[in-house]
């Protein structure tokens, strides 16, 4: 299951559309890091609305994505964590502390836009 990555201006949007295996998650991580370099993107949004479960492996991979992209000087926002998924994550002990999260794609884009305009001014 490949995750489509859309380029919208300086932002890459990866929309997860079904449950992902560990191999799929690693593929997504590698593809995002490559594309951030290729397109000189300033931000990345990972939309996890369709993710059924966020376990320790998925969380670790999202953290890795965010850290790798941070090293390129770009920001990552995770959007669309479902309420029941958030509930299970907290019980498991996962908080994704270092990564900004937003309710949905629109708010994720707003966040990146604000961050970008701040860094320019």
């Amino acid at each position: 299951m490949q995750v489509p990555i859309l380029k919208q201006g300086g932002v890459l949007i990866a929309t997860i559309q079904a449950a992902l295996s560990d191999a799929d998650l690693l593929e997504l991580r590698n593809a995002l890091v490559h594309q951030v370099v290729r397109y000189r993107s300033s931000g990345v949004i990972v939309d996890v609305t369709a993710m059924d479960v966020m376990d320790s492996f998925a969380s670790r991979t999202l953290l890795e994505i965010s850290h790798m992209i941070r090293l390129r000087g770009a920001d990552t926002v995770i959007v669309g964590i479902q309420p029941e998924v958030a509930f299970a994550m907290v019980q498991l002990g996962l908080t994704l502390e270092d990564i900004p999260t937003a309710l949905d794609l629109e708010e994720g884009l707003d966040y990146l836009q604000q961050k970008n305009s701040r860094s320019i001014n």
Binding site: A19, S21, D22, D52, S56, F57, F87, A88, L94
Partner: protein
């Protein structure tokens, strides 16, 4: 009472299959979406442990009846891998022998109501967990 469902675990794709079955069986057994997601998350961790440490094994889903009409779902994760030498250490938050986050087993324990682990000398690990319907 519904029959057991057994899923063979040999790869990371089976981890996804197992947790999807788990969620479906939990919903069928009357658990809420939130509880079914807790169970699916626990199954995901247990199934990944099988792939990471034993290469293969199985996840068994078993709807159960407890005392005083309580209904629940038992998940048995079983493998014949090398086993766990120090169970107390494996249950400690933040401990990982595989470079993971170290939340697997202690996390599963928090997600479920009952937790039992057996890893006899000679190999093999069986983790049995149960969630009861409130």
């Amino acid at each position: 009472m519904a029959d057991d469902t057994q899923i063979h675990i040999t790869s990371d794709k089976d981890v996804v299959t197992a947790r999807q079955h788990g969620r479906a069986v939990a919903l069928q057994a009357g658990f809420s979406l939130s509880e079914a997601t807790l169970i699916a998350t626990a199954i995901s961790e247990l199934a990944r442990n099988i792939v990471s440490y034993a290469q293969q094994g199985s996840i068994t889903l078993r709807p159960v009846n407890g005392s005083s009409g309580l209904r629940g779902l038992t998940v048995v994760a079983s493998d014949s891998g090398p086993g766990i030498t120090d169970i107390a250490q494996a249950l400690r938050d933040g401990y990982s022998s595989s470079g993971g986050l170290g939340l697997g087993l202690p996390g599963v324990r928090r997600l479920m109501d009952e937790f039992d682990i057996a890893s006899p000398a000679g190999g093999g690990t069986t983790v049995t967990v149960t969630k009861w319907r409130p």
